[in-house]
Protein backbone atom coordinates (compact mmCIF):
# COMPACT_ATOMS: atom_id res chain seq x y z
CA UNK A 1 0.00 0.00 0.00
CA UNK A 2 1.52 3.30 -1.04
CA UNK A 3 2.17 5.66 1.82
CA UNK A 4 0.61 9.08 1.43
CA UNK A 5 1.81 11.88 3.67
CA UNK A 6 0.48 15.30 4.37
CA UNK A 7 3.80 17.12 4.31
CA UNK A 8 2.39 20.49 5.39
CA UNK A 9 0.63 18.98 8.35
CA UNK A 10 3.71 16.94 9.16
CA UNK A 11 5.88 20.04 9.15
CA UNK A 12 3.45 21.83 11.46
CA UNK A 13 3.40 18.86 13.82
CA UNK A 14 7.16 18.74 13.92
CA UNK A 15 7.25 22.37 14.99
CA UNK A 16 5.31 21.58 18.15
CA UNK A 17 7.64 21.59 21.10
CA UNK A 18 8.51 18.37 22.85
CA UNK A 19 10.06 18.81 26.28
CA UNK A 20 13.40 17.35 27.18
CA UNK A 21 13.46 14.67 29.85
CA UNK A 22 13.45 15.81 33.43
CA UNK A 23 17.05 16.25 34.66
CA UNK A 24 17.03 13.07 36.71
CA UNK A 25 15.54 10.90 33.93
CA UNK A 26 18.68 9.19 32.71
CA UNK A 27 20.05 8.57 36.18
CA UNK A 28 16.73 7.04 37.24
CA UNK A 29 16.67 4.90 34.11
CA UNK A 30 20.22 3.77 34.68
CA UNK A 31 19.27 2.63 38.18
CA UNK A 32 16.20 0.82 36.94
CA UNK A 33 18.22 -1.01 34.29
CA UNK A 34 20.96 -1.82 36.76
CA UNK A 35 18.33 -3.32 39.06
CA UNK A 36 17.08 -5.39 36.15
CA UNK A 37 20.57 -6.57 35.30
CA UNK A 38 21.32 -7.30 38.95
CA UNK A 39 18.43 -9.69 39.00
CA UNK A 40 20.38 -11.83 36.58
CA UNK A 41 23.68 -12.00 38.45
CA UNK A 42 25.58 -15.24 38.05
CA UNK A 43 25.30 -17.73 40.85
CA UNK A 44 26.83 -21.10 41.47
CA UNK A 45 25.81 -23.49 38.76
CA UNK A 46 23.56 -26.35 39.88
CA UNK A 47 24.52 -29.89 39.03
CA UNK A 48 22.73 -30.91 35.88
CA UNK A 49 20.85 -34.17 35.95
CA UNK A 50 17.95 -34.04 33.61
CA UNK A 51 17.94 -33.09 30.01
CA UNK A 52 15.44 -31.06 28.14
CA UNK A 53 14.78 -30.04 24.64
CA UNK A 54 13.56 -27.07 22.75
CA UNK A 55 11.31 -26.30 19.95
CA UNK A 56 13.09 -28.10 17.20
CA UNK A 57 10.18 -28.60 14.97
CA UNK A 58 10.87 -31.98 13.57
CA UNK A 59 8.59 -34.58 14.89
CA UNK A 60 9.57 -38.10 15.04
CA UNK A 61 9.32 -41.76 14.29
CA UNK A 62 10.41 -43.06 10.99
CA UNK A 63 11.84 -45.92 12.91
CA UNK A 64 15.40 -46.07 13.98
CA UNK A 65 17.38 -43.91 11.66
CA UNK A 66 20.69 -45.21 10.60
CA UNK A 67 23.52 -42.80 10.22
CA UNK A 68 23.03 -41.17 6.88
CA UNK A 69 25.33 -38.77 5.22
CA UNK A 70 23.81 -36.61 2.54
CA UNK A 71 25.50 -34.55 -0.07
CA UNK A 72 22.75 -32.24 -1.05
CA UNK A 73 22.56 -29.62 -3.74
CA UNK A 74 23.38 -26.05 -3.03
CA UNK A 75 21.93 -22.89 -4.41
CA UNK A 76 21.72 -23.05 -8.17
CA UNK A 77 21.43 -26.80 -8.38
CA UNK A 78 17.72 -26.62 -8.69
CA UNK A 79 16.48 -30.17 -8.83
CA UNK A 80 14.40 -31.05 -11.83
CA UNK A 81 11.30 -33.19 -11.72
CA UNK A 82 11.84 -36.83 -12.59
CA UNK A 83 8.40 -38.29 -12.44
CA UNK A 84 5.10 -37.66 -10.79
CA UNK A 85 4.16 -40.26 -8.20
CA UNK A 86 0.96 -40.92 -6.39
CA UNK A 87 2.37 -39.60 -3.13
CA UNK A 88 0.43 -36.85 -1.46
CA UNK A 89 1.35 -34.28 1.13
CA UNK A 90 -0.08 -36.60 3.77
CA UNK A 91 2.66 -39.12 3.00
CA UNK A 92 5.34 -36.47 3.30
CA UNK A 93 3.88 -35.16 6.51
CA UNK A 94 3.92 -38.64 7.97
CA UNK A 95 7.53 -39.08 6.89
CA UNK A 96 8.63 -35.73 8.26
CA UNK A 97 6.63 -35.97 11.43
CA UNK A 98 8.10 -39.41 11.77
CA UNK A 99 11.54 -38.48 10.61
CA UNK A 100 13.80 -37.68 13.44
CA UNK A 101 12.00 -39.08 16.39
CA UNK A 102 14.90 -41.19 17.35
CA UNK A 103 17.53 -39.04 15.77
CA UNK A 104 20.15 -38.12 18.27
CA UNK A 105 21.79 -35.43 16.21
CA UNK A 106 21.53 -33.39 13.07
CA UNK A 107 24.41 -31.42 11.63
CA UNK A 108 25.51 -29.85 8.40
CA UNK A 109 25.78 -26.55 6.63
CA UNK A 110 23.08 -24.12 5.69
CA UNK A 111 22.59 -21.21 3.36
CA UNK A 112 19.90 -18.68 4.07
CA UNK A 113 19.09 -16.07 1.40
CA UNK A 114 16.63 -13.30 1.92
CA UNK A 115 15.47 -10.58 -0.44
CA UNK A 116 14.37 -7.28 1.04
CA UNK A 117 11.48 -5.94 -1.03
CA UNK A 118 12.32 -2.27 -0.51
CA UNK A 119 15.92 -2.43 -1.62
CA UNK A 120 15.59 -5.56 -3.74
CA UNK A 121 18.84 -6.64 -2.17
CA UNK A 122 19.48 -10.30 -1.46
CA UNK A 123 21.41 -11.01 1.73
CA UNK A 124 23.01 -14.37 2.13
CA UNK A 125 24.17 -16.12 5.27
CA UNK A 126 26.14 -19.33 5.22
CA UNK A 127 26.98 -21.33 8.28
CA UNK A 128 27.22 -24.63 10.08
CA UNK A 129 24.82 -26.17 12.54
CA UNK A 130 24.66 -28.94 15.09
CA UNK A 131 21.45 -29.87 16.88
CA UNK A 132 21.29 -32.57 19.54
CA UNK A 133 18.27 -34.46 20.77
CA UNK A 134 18.55 -32.97 24.23
CA UNK A 135 17.97 -29.52 22.79
CA UNK A 136 21.57 -28.41 22.65
CA UNK A 137 22.76 -26.63 19.57
CA UNK A 138 25.68 -24.83 17.99
CA UNK A 139 25.49 -22.52 14.98
CA UNK A 140 28.24 -20.53 13.39
CA UNK A 141 28.40 -18.17 10.47
CA UNK A 142 31.02 -15.68 9.39
CA UNK A 143 30.56 -13.29 12.26
CA UNK A 144 28.52 -15.01 14.94
CA UNK A 145 28.69 -18.13 16.98
CA UNK A 146 25.78 -19.18 19.13
CA UNK A 147 25.44 -22.24 21.32
CA UNK A 148 23.25 -23.74 24.00
CA UNK A 149 24.22 -26.66 26.18
CA UNK A 150 21.05 -28.18 27.55
CA UNK A 151 22.83 -30.30 30.11
CA UNK A 152 24.45 -27.31 31.70
CA UNK A 153 21.60 -24.90 30.81
CA UNK A 154 24.16 -22.41 29.56
CA UNK A 155 23.89 -20.29 26.45
CA UNK A 156 26.91 -18.59 24.89
CA UNK A 157 26.95 -16.04 22.12
CA UNK A 158 30.04 -14.62 20.42
CA UNK A 159 29.97 -11.81 17.87
CA UNK A 160 33.18 -10.90 16.07
CA UNK A 161 32.14 -9.11 12.94
CA UNK A 162 34.29 -6.53 11.19
CA UNK A 163 34.11 -2.92 12.28
CA UNK A 164 33.45 -3.41 15.97
CA UNK A 165 35.01 -4.95 19.04
CA UNK A 166 34.34 -8.65 19.62
CA UNK A 167 31.67 -9.28 22.19
CA UNK A 168 30.44 -12.35 24.02
CA UNK A 169 27.65 -13.15 26.42
CA UNK A 170 27.04 -16.12 28.66
CA UNK A 171 23.59 -16.78 30.13
CA UNK A 172 22.97 -19.45 32.71
CA UNK A 173 20.21 -20.91 34.85
CA UNK A 174 17.83 -20.89 31.93
CA UNK A 175 14.24 -22.09 32.12
CA UNK A 176 13.25 -25.51 30.82
CA UNK A 177 11.35 -23.98 27.96
CA UNK A 178 9.37 -21.15 26.45
CA UNK A 179 8.07 -18.62 27.15
CA UNK A 180 10.76 -18.11 29.78
CA UNK A 181 13.72 -19.39 27.80
CA UNK A 182 12.99 -17.69 24.47
CA UNK A 183 15.98 -15.98 22.93
CA UNK A 184 18.52 -18.14 24.71
CA UNK A 185 17.68 -21.71 23.85
CA UNK A 186 16.60 -21.50 20.24
CA UNK A 187 18.86 -20.36 17.43
CA UNK A 188 17.69 -18.35 14.46
CA UNK A 189 18.42 -21.34 12.26
CA UNK A 190 16.19 -23.56 14.37
CA UNK A 191 13.40 -21.02 14.30
CA UNK A 192 13.59 -20.96 10.51
CA UNK A 193 13.59 -24.72 10.37
CA UNK A 194 10.68 -24.86 12.76
CA UNK A 195 8.62 -22.54 10.60
CA UNK A 196 9.37 -24.74 7.57
CA UNK A 197 8.05 -27.84 9.27
CA UNK A 198 5.02 -26.06 10.64
CA UNK A 199 4.25 -24.69 7.20
CA UNK A 200 4.52 -28.21 5.84
CA UNK A 201 2.23 -29.57 8.50
CA UNK A 202 -0.36 -26.96 7.56
CA UNK A 203 -0.50 -28.16 3.95
CA UNK A 204 -3.64 -29.96 2.79
CA UNK A 205 -3.19 -33.72 2.99
CA UNK A 206 -4.47 -34.22 -0.54
CA UNK A 207 -1.97 -31.89 -2.15
CA UNK A 208 -0.05 -33.76 -4.87
CA UNK A 209 3.66 -34.19 -4.40
CA UNK A 210 6.35 -34.30 -7.04
CA UNK A 211 9.01 -36.91 -6.76
CA UNK A 212 12.36 -35.53 -7.75
CA UNK A 213 15.97 -36.50 -7.62
CA UNK A 214 18.55 -34.46 -5.80
CA UNK A 215 22.07 -35.58 -6.58
CA UNK A 216 21.07 -39.17 -6.89
CA UNK A 217 18.81 -39.13 -3.86
CA UNK A 218 15.07 -39.36 -4.05
CA UNK A 219 13.20 -36.42 -2.66
CA UNK A 220 9.69 -35.01 -2.51
CA UNK A 221 8.85 -31.54 -3.67
CA UNK A 222 5.75 -29.82 -2.32
CA UNK A 223 4.56 -26.56 -3.77
CA UNK A 224 1.82 -24.73 -1.93
CA UNK A 225 0.32 -21.29 -1.57
CA UNK A 226 0.63 -19.82 1.91
CA UNK A 227 -1.57 -17.35 3.67
CA UNK A 228 -0.08 -13.87 3.69
CA UNK A 229 0.31 -11.85 6.83
CA UNK A 230 -2.01 -8.89 6.62
CA UNK A 231 0.31 -6.57 8.52
CA UNK A 232 3.47 -7.41 6.66
CA UNK A 233 3.08 -4.96 3.82
CA UNK A 234 3.38 -5.35 0.10
CA UNK A 235 6.15 -7.64 -1.01
CA UNK A 236 7.08 -8.78 2.49
CA UNK A 237 4.80 -11.66 3.27
CA UNK A 238 5.33 -14.73 1.05
CA UNK A 239 2.43 -16.08 -0.96
CA UNK A 240 4.03 -19.34 -2.01
CA UNK A 241 6.27 -21.98 -0.52
CA UNK A 242 8.22 -24.85 -2.03
CA UNK A 243 9.66 -27.48 0.29
CA UNK A 244 12.03 -30.29 -0.69
CA UNK A 245 12.16 -33.28 1.65
CA UNK A 246 14.67 -36.14 1.49
CA UNK A 247 12.71 -39.37 1.16
CA UNK A 248 15.10 -41.62 3.03
CA UNK A 249 15.45 -39.51 6.14
CA UNK A 250 12.34 -37.36 6.05
CA UNK A 251 14.50 -34.29 6.55
CA UNK A 252 13.46 -31.05 4.82
CA UNK A 253 16.42 -29.96 2.75
CA UNK A 254 15.19 -26.78 1.27
CA UNK A 255 12.39 -24.25 1.67
CA UNK A 256 11.87 -21.40 -0.73
CA UNK A 257 9.30 -18.68 -0.05
CA UNK A 258 8.29 -16.36 -2.85
CA UNK A 259 6.06 -13.34 -3.38
CA UNK A 260 4.53 -12.94 -6.83
CA UNK A 261 7.07 -15.45 -8.08
CA UNK A 262 10.06 -13.54 -6.71
CA UNK A 263 12.39 -14.82 -4.04
CA UNK A 264 11.59 -13.71 -0.53
CA UNK A 265 13.51 -16.26 1.49
CA UNK A 266 15.40 -19.43 0.71
CA UNK A 267 16.79 -21.83 3.29
CA UNK A 268 18.91 -24.78 2.20
CA UNK A 269 20.70 -27.42 4.16
CA UNK A 270 23.64 -29.25 2.64
CA UNK A 271 26.03 -31.96 3.76
CA UNK A 272 23.50 -33.04 6.29
CA UNK A 273 24.45 -35.74 8.78
CA UNK A 274 21.73 -37.50 10.71
CA UNK A 275 22.73 -39.37 13.84
CA UNK A 276 26.41 -38.81 13.36
CA UNK A 277 28.46 -39.01 16.52
CA UNK A 278 28.67 -35.47 17.74
CA UNK A 279 31.01 -34.71 20.57
CA UNK A 280 29.65 -32.28 23.11
CA UNK A 281 32.84 -30.36 22.66
CA UNK A 282 31.31 -29.20 19.37
CA UNK A 283 28.90 -27.15 21.44
CA UNK A 284 31.71 -25.05 22.82
CA UNK A 285 32.19 -21.49 21.75
CA UNK A 286 35.82 -20.52 21.94
CA UNK A 287 36.07 -16.91 22.98
CA UNK A 288 39.47 -15.34 22.37
CA UNK A 289 41.21 -13.74 25.31
CA UNK A 290 40.50 -10.06 25.63
CA UNK A 291 36.96 -10.34 24.28
CA UNK A 292 34.46 -8.36 26.27
CA UNK A 293 32.30 -10.95 28.03
CA UNK A 294 29.08 -10.22 29.90
CA UNK A 295 27.10 -12.71 31.93
CA UNK A 296 23.51 -13.08 32.99
CA UNK A 297 21.55 -15.33 35.27
CA UNK A 298 17.95 -16.11 34.38
CA UNK A 299 17.24 -17.38 37.87
CA UNK A 300 15.76 -20.83 37.18
CA UNK A 301 16.78 -23.84 39.21
CA UNK A 302 16.22 -27.51 38.53
CA UNK A 303 14.09 -29.33 41.05
CA UNK A 304 12.41 -32.70 41.20
CA UNK A 305 8.69 -32.54 40.50
CA UNK A 306 7.85 -33.12 44.15
CA UNK A 307 10.07 -30.21 45.11
CA UNK A 308 8.21 -27.62 43.06
CA UNK A 309 5.58 -26.64 45.61
CA UNK A 310 8.13 -25.80 48.28
CA UNK A 311 9.63 -23.17 45.98
CA UNK A 312 6.62 -21.63 44.26
CA UNK A 313 3.93 -22.20 46.86
CA UNK A 314 1.54 -24.23 44.74
CA UNK A 315 1.40 -27.72 43.33
CA UNK A 316 2.53 -27.91 39.72
CA UNK A 317 -0.01 -28.75 37.02
CA UNK A 318 1.03 -32.08 35.60
CA UNK A 319 -0.45 -33.71 32.47
CA UNK A 320 -2.01 -37.12 32.88
CA UNK A 321 -2.07 -37.53 29.11
CA UNK A 322 0.63 -36.89 26.52
CA UNK A 323 1.07 -38.23 23.00
CA UNK A 324 2.83 -41.56 23.02
CA UNK A 325 6.51 -41.56 23.76
CA UNK A 326 6.85 -38.27 25.61
CA UNK A 327 8.64 -38.34 28.93
CA UNK A 328 9.36 -35.71 31.53
CA UNK A 329 12.80 -34.31 30.75
CA UNK A 330 13.25 -31.25 32.89
CA UNK A 331 11.59 -29.24 35.63
CA UNK A 332 12.79 -25.77 36.52
CA UNK A 333 11.34 -23.17 38.85
CA UNK A 334 11.96 -19.52 39.60
CA UNK A 335 10.68 -17.51 42.49
CA UNK A 336 10.43 -14.55 40.13
CA UNK A 337 10.10 -14.86 36.37
CA UNK A 338 10.75 -12.49 33.53
CA UNK A 339 7.97 -10.61 31.76
CA UNK A 340 6.40 -12.56 28.93
CA UNK A 341 4.31 -11.89 25.87
CA UNK A 342 4.63 -9.68 22.86
CA UNK A 343 7.14 -6.98 23.72
CA UNK A 344 7.17 -8.23 27.33
CA UNK A 345 3.89 -6.54 28.12
CA UNK A 346 2.95 -9.11 30.74
CA UNK A 347 4.20 -8.51 34.26
CA UNK A 348 7.16 -10.35 35.74
CA UNK A 349 5.13 -12.83 37.72
CA UNK A 350 6.33 -14.81 40.71
CA UNK A 351 6.20 -18.55 41.16
CA UNK A 352 7.14 -19.76 37.70
CA UNK A 353 7.23 -23.46 36.86
CA UNK A 354 8.70 -24.45 33.50
CA UNK A 355 8.56 -28.12 32.50
CA UNK A 356 9.70 -29.93 29.38
CA UNK A 357 8.58 -33.31 28.09
CA UNK A 358 10.57 -34.87 25.27
CA UNK A 359 10.26 -37.49 22.58
CA UNK A 360 13.35 -37.42 20.42
CA UNK A 361 13.54 -33.96 18.91
CA UNK A 362 9.93 -33.26 19.83
CA UNK A 363 9.16 -31.31 22.95
CA UNK A 364 6.14 -30.17 24.93
CA UNK A 365 6.58 -27.28 27.32
CA UNK A 366 4.20 -26.54 30.15
CA UNK A 367 4.55 -23.40 32.20
CA UNK A 368 2.58 -21.88 35.05
CA UNK A 369 3.02 -18.62 36.91
CA UNK A 370 1.06 -16.71 39.48
CA UNK A 371 -1.51 -14.48 37.79
CA UNK A 372 -0.55 -11.22 39.41
CA UNK A 373 -2.63 -8.28 38.36
CA UNK A 374 -0.91 -6.20 35.67
CA UNK A 375 -0.41 -2.55 36.49
CA UNK A 376 -2.82 0.08 35.31
CA UNK A 377 -5.64 -1.09 33.15
CA UNK A 378 -3.52 -3.68 31.39
CA UNK A 379 -4.66 -7.25 31.03
CA UNK A 380 -2.74 -10.48 30.61
CA UNK A 381 -1.95 -11.31 27.02
CA UNK A 382 -0.58 -14.39 25.29
CA UNK A 383 2.80 -15.20 26.90
CA UNK A 384 3.89 -16.82 23.63
CA UNK A 385 2.48 -14.26 21.21
CA UNK A 386 4.29 -13.89 17.91
CA UNK A 387 4.89 -10.19 18.54
CA UNK A 388 7.07 -7.79 16.60
CA UNK A 389 4.18 -6.40 14.66
CA UNK A 390 2.37 -9.67 14.05
CA UNK A 391 -1.16 -9.68 15.37
CA UNK A 392 -2.31 -13.16 16.30
CA UNK A 393 -5.88 -14.31 16.05
CA UNK A 394 -6.17 -17.14 18.54
CA UNK A 395 -9.06 -19.54 18.67
CA UNK A 396 -11.07 -19.50 21.88
CA UNK A 397 -11.50 -22.97 23.36
CA UNK A 398 -13.41 -23.83 26.51
CA UNK A 399 -11.59 -26.56 28.36
CA UNK A 400 -13.92 -29.23 29.67
CA UNK A 401 -11.82 -31.40 31.94
CA UNK A 402 -9.06 -31.31 34.50
CA UNK A 403 -7.86 -28.47 36.66
CA UNK A 404 -8.67 -26.00 33.91
CA UNK A 405 -12.23 -27.23 33.39
CA UNK A 406 -14.49 -24.35 32.47
CA UNK A 407 -11.61 -22.04 31.62
CA UNK A 408 -11.62 -20.30 28.25
CA UNK A 409 -8.22 -20.95 26.70
CA UNK A 410 -6.67 -19.35 23.63
CA UNK A 411 -5.17 -21.61 21.02
CA UNK A 412 -2.74 -20.45 18.36
CA UNK A 413 -1.22 -22.50 15.55
CA UNK A 414 0.72 -20.37 13.06
CA UNK A 415 4.06 -21.02 11.34
CA UNK A 416 5.96 -18.19 13.05
CA UNK A 417 5.15 -19.16 16.61
CA UNK A 418 5.42 -22.36 18.55
CA UNK A 419 1.93 -23.93 18.50
CA UNK A 420 0.46 -23.28 21.88
CA UNK A 421 -2.50 -22.79 24.14
CA UNK A 422 -2.67 -20.43 27.08
CA UNK A 423 -5.21 -19.85 29.78
CA UNK A 424 -5.73 -17.41 32.59
CA UNK A 425 -7.34 -18.64 35.78
CA UNK A 426 -7.91 -16.67 38.95
CA UNK A 427 -4.66 -18.01 40.32
CA UNK A 428 -2.40 -18.94 37.44
CA UNK A 429 -1.34 -18.22 33.89
CA UNK A 430 -0.87 -21.54 32.12
CA UNK A 431 0.81 -22.31 28.80
CA UNK A 432 1.04 -25.58 26.89
CA UNK A 433 3.32 -25.41 23.85
CA UNK A 434 4.90 -27.76 21.38
CA UNK A 435 4.66 -29.06 17.87
CA UNK A 436 1.34 -30.70 18.50
CA UNK A 437 -1.92 -30.70 16.64
CA UNK A 438 -4.85 -28.61 17.81
CA UNK A 439 -6.56 -31.62 19.36
CA UNK A 440 -3.39 -32.76 21.09
CA UNK A 441 -2.79 -29.34 22.62
CA UNK A 442 -6.34 -29.28 23.98
CA UNK A 443 -6.13 -32.81 25.25
CA UNK A 444 -2.88 -32.13 27.09
CA UNK A 445 -4.36 -28.98 28.63
CA UNK A 446 -7.49 -30.85 29.70
CA UNK A 447 -5.39 -33.50 31.39
CA UNK A 448 -3.58 -31.06 33.69
CA UNK A 449 -4.09 -31.76 37.36
CA UNK A 450 -2.20 -30.64 40.45
CA UNK A 451 0.63 -33.04 40.97
CA UNK A 452 2.94 -34.75 41.24
Amino acid sequence: MTTVRDERLGAALRQLDTPEHRPSFHLELERLLAAEAAGRRPVRRPRPRLRWGLRVAFAAALGALAFVALDIVRSGDTPGPVEVQEATAADVKVAVSAAVARAESLSGTYVSRERTPESDQVDSTRGTFVILADGSYHTKDGVREDAYDARRRVSVFYDHGPGYDPYAHRARRLAAGPPDSLGYTDSEFQRELGSVVRALMAVDDDLPVEEIEVRGRRAWRISTPVRQDRLAGEGWSPDHLVIVVDQETGIPLRARWTVDGRLRHDLQMTNVDVNADVSRSELRVRIPAGTELTRSNQGFQRVPLDGVESVVGYAPLVPSWLPEGFELADVTVAEQGNPTGAEAMNPAAPGVVSMAYRRGFDAIFISTRVAVKPTGGAIWSDPLATGEGFVDNPEGVELERGALSGVEANLLIVPLALPHLWALTEELVVTVAGDLSRDELIRVAESLEPGP
Partner: protein, 186 residues
Protein backbone atom coordinates in the same frame (compact mmCIF):
# COMPACT_ATOMS: atom_id res chain seq x y z
CA UNK B 1 6.15 28.21 7.49
CA UNK B 2 8.91 26.21 5.89
CA UNK B 3 7.57 22.97 4.58
CA UNK B 4 10.10 20.25 5.06
CA UNK B 5 9.59 16.76 3.78
CA UNK B 6 8.92 14.29 6.54
CA UNK B 7 12.20 12.94 7.85
CA UNK B 8 13.03 9.32 7.50
CA UNK B 9 12.53 7.59 10.83
CA UNK B 10 15.83 6.99 12.59
CA UNK B 11 17.78 4.42 10.66
CA UNK B 12 18.03 1.10 12.41
CA UNK B 13 20.91 0.92 14.80
CA UNK B 14 24.06 -1.03 13.93
CA UNK B 15 23.46 -4.77 14.23
CA UNK B 16 26.48 -5.25 16.48
CA UNK B 17 25.20 -2.72 19.00
CA UNK B 18 21.78 -4.31 18.92
CA UNK B 19 23.24 -7.77 19.46
CA UNK B 20 25.14 -6.56 22.49
CA UNK B 21 22.02 -4.97 23.87
CA UNK B 22 20.12 -8.19 23.22
CA UNK B 23 22.63 -10.02 25.36
CA UNK B 24 22.14 -7.68 28.28
CA UNK B 25 24.88 -5.11 27.70
CA UNK B 26 23.48 -2.07 29.49
CA UNK B 27 25.76 0.36 27.72
CA UNK B 28 24.73 -0.94 24.32
CA UNK B 29 21.10 -0.74 25.35
CA UNK B 30 21.61 2.88 26.36
CA UNK B 31 23.00 3.52 22.88
CA UNK B 32 19.92 1.95 21.33
CA UNK B 33 17.67 4.12 23.47
CA UNK B 34 19.61 7.30 22.73
CA UNK B 35 19.25 6.54 19.04
CA UNK B 36 15.48 6.38 19.07
CA UNK B 37 14.62 8.54 22.08
CA UNK B 38 13.77 11.84 20.33
CA UNK B 39 11.01 10.27 18.25
CA UNK B 40 9.75 8.14 21.11
CA UNK B 41 9.68 11.15 23.37
CA UNK B 42 7.62 13.10 20.87
CA UNK B 43 5.14 10.26 20.53
CA UNK B 44 4.82 9.71 24.28
CA UNK B 45 4.44 13.41 25.03
CA UNK B 46 1.74 13.91 22.42
CA UNK B 47 -0.13 10.88 23.72
CA UNK B 48 0.16 11.68 27.43
CA UNK B 49 0.36 15.45 27.40
CA UNK B 50 2.58 15.88 30.42
CA UNK B 51 6.33 15.70 30.82
CA UNK B 52 6.37 13.69 34.01
CA UNK B 53 3.88 11.19 32.67
CA UNK B 54 5.92 11.02 29.49
CA UNK B 55 9.09 10.32 31.43
CA UNK B 56 7.44 7.76 33.68
CA UNK B 57 5.97 5.95 30.71
CA UNK B 58 9.25 6.02 28.81
CA UNK B 59 11.18 4.66 31.77
CA UNK B 60 8.66 1.87 32.12
CA UNK B 61 8.78 1.19 28.38
CA UNK B 62 12.57 1.19 28.24
CA UNK B 63 12.79 -1.26 31.13
CA UNK B 64 10.25 -3.48 29.36
CA UNK B 65 12.32 -3.28 26.20
CA UNK B 66 15.47 -4.18 28.12
CA UNK B 67 13.69 -7.24 29.51
CA UNK B 68 12.18 -8.23 26.20
CA UNK B 69 15.18 -7.61 23.98
CA UNK B 70 16.73 -11.07 24.40
CA UNK B 71 13.60 -12.45 22.75
CA UNK B 72 13.62 -9.96 19.89
CA UNK B 73 13.90 -12.05 16.73
CA UNK B 74 14.46 -9.29 14.16
CA UNK B 75 11.17 -9.94 12.40
CA UNK B 76 10.50 -6.24 12.72
CA UNK B 77 12.89 -3.31 12.73
CA UNK B 78 14.08 -2.68 16.25
CA UNK B 79 12.91 0.93 15.97
CA UNK B 80 9.41 -0.18 15.06
CA UNK B 81 9.50 -2.64 17.92
CA UNK B 82 10.49 0.08 20.40
CA UNK B 83 7.78 2.39 19.14
CA UNK B 84 5.28 -0.40 19.67
CA UNK B 85 6.39 -0.89 23.27
CA UNK B 86 6.21 2.84 23.97
CA UNK B 87 2.82 3.13 22.27
CA UNK B 88 1.39 0.22 24.26
CA UNK B 89 2.84 1.54 27.50
CA UNK B 90 1.29 4.95 26.85
CA UNK B 91 -2.07 3.33 26.16
CA UNK B 92 -1.77 1.44 29.45
CA UNK B 93 -0.97 4.70 31.21
CA UNK B 94 -3.99 6.36 29.67
CA UNK B 95 -6.22 3.46 30.68
CA UNK B 96 -4.85 3.66 34.18
CA UNK B 97 -5.50 7.40 34.31
CA UNK B 98 -9.08 6.88 33.20
CA UNK B 99 -9.65 4.46 36.04
CA UNK B 100 -8.06 6.77 38.58
CA UNK B 101 -9.58 10.20 38.56
CA UNK B 102 -6.86 12.68 39.41
CA UNK B 103 -7.50 16.26 40.39
CA UNK B 104 -5.43 18.31 37.98
CA UNK B 105 -2.88 20.63 39.52
CA UNK B 106 -1.97 22.28 36.26
CA UNK B 107 -4.46 24.55 34.61
CA UNK B 108 -3.41 23.30 31.23
CA UNK B 109 -4.61 19.79 31.89
CA UNK B 110 -8.24 20.73 31.51
CA UNK B 111 -7.74 19.95 27.84
CA UNK B 112 -7.61 16.34 26.73
CA UNK B 113 -3.90 15.76 26.61
CA UNK B 114 -3.58 19.07 28.39
CA UNK B 115 -0.34 20.23 26.90
CA UNK B 116 -0.97 23.47 25.09
CA UNK B 117 2.46 24.94 25.59
CA UNK B 118 2.49 28.73 26.04
CA UNK B 119 5.28 29.00 23.50
CA UNK B 120 3.20 27.05 21.02
CA UNK B 121 0.24 29.29 21.64
CA UNK B 122 2.37 32.39 21.19
CA UNK B 123 3.71 31.01 17.94
CA UNK B 124 0.25 30.23 16.66
CA UNK B 125 0.72 26.51 17.15
CA UNK B 126 -1.72 26.28 20.00
CA UNK B 127 -4.65 25.51 17.72
CA UNK B 128 -2.87 22.55 16.23
CA UNK B 129 -1.71 21.41 19.63
CA UNK B 130 -5.22 21.56 21.03
CA UNK B 131 -6.77 19.95 17.97
CA UNK B 132 -4.25 17.14 18.16
CA UNK B 133 -5.05 16.62 21.83
CA UNK B 134 -8.74 16.16 21.07
CA UNK B 135 -8.09 13.31 18.62
CA UNK B 136 -8.54 9.72 19.81
CA UNK B 137 -5.16 8.30 20.75
CA UNK B 138 -5.17 5.86 17.84
CA UNK B 139 -5.67 8.63 15.31
CA UNK B 140 -3.19 10.88 17.07
CA UNK B 141 -0.54 8.17 16.98
CA UNK B 142 -1.18 7.46 13.30
CA UNK B 143 -0.75 11.05 12.21
CA UNK B 144 2.30 11.53 14.41
CA UNK B 145 3.99 8.43 13.09
CA UNK B 146 3.26 8.90 9.41
CA UNK B 147 3.06 12.64 8.82
CA UNK B 148 5.38 13.94 11.53
CA UNK B 149 7.89 11.13 11.89
CA UNK B 150 7.97 9.75 8.37
CA UNK B 151 6.85 6.17 8.99
CA UNK B 152 5.41 4.32 6.04
CA UNK B 153 2.07 2.57 6.44
CA UNK B 154 3.69 -0.80 6.93
CA UNK B 155 5.82 0.23 9.89
CA UNK B 156 3.04 2.34 11.37
CA UNK B 157 0.74 -0.66 11.10
CA UNK B 158 3.23 -2.75 13.02
CA UNK B 159 3.54 -0.13 15.74
CA UNK B 160 -0.20 0.28 16.08
CA UNK B 161 -1.03 -3.39 15.61
CA UNK B 162 -3.60 -2.81 12.88
CA UNK B 163 -3.67 -3.41 9.12
CA UNK B 164 -2.34 -0.76 6.76
CA UNK B 165 -5.84 0.05 5.60
CA UNK B 166 -6.82 0.91 9.15
CA UNK B 167 -3.80 3.18 9.44
CA UNK B 168 -4.89 4.93 6.26
CA UNK B 169 -8.45 5.43 7.48
CA UNK B 170 -7.27 6.71 10.86
CA UNK B 171 -5.01 9.13 9.04
CA UNK B 172 -7.87 10.39 6.92
CA UNK B 173 -9.97 11.12 9.96
CA UNK B 174 -7.08 12.70 11.88
CA UNK B 175 -6.04 14.90 8.99
CA UNK B 176 -9.58 16.09 8.41
CA UNK B 177 -9.89 17.11 12.06
CA UNK B 178 -6.53 18.83 12.16
CA UNK B 179 -7.01 20.64 8.87
CA UNK B 180 -10.38 21.89 10.06
CA UNK B 181 -8.84 23.09 13.30
CA UNK B 182 -6.20 24.96 11.37
CA UNK B 183 -8.67 26.45 8.97
CA UNK B 184 -7.12 24.56 6.10
CA UNK B 185 -3.75 26.18 6.63
CA UNK B 186 -1.93 22.95 7.20
Amino acid sequence: MDIATAPEPAADIRPAVLERARRGDQEAFAAVIRHYDPGLRALAYRLLGDRDRMDDALQEAYVKAFRALPRFQRRAKVGTWLYRIVYNTCLDELRKARRTAVEPLDENVDQPGGWADPADVAAGRGDLSRALATLPEQERAAVLLVDAQGFDYRDAAQVLGVPEGTVASRLNRARASLRAALGGSA
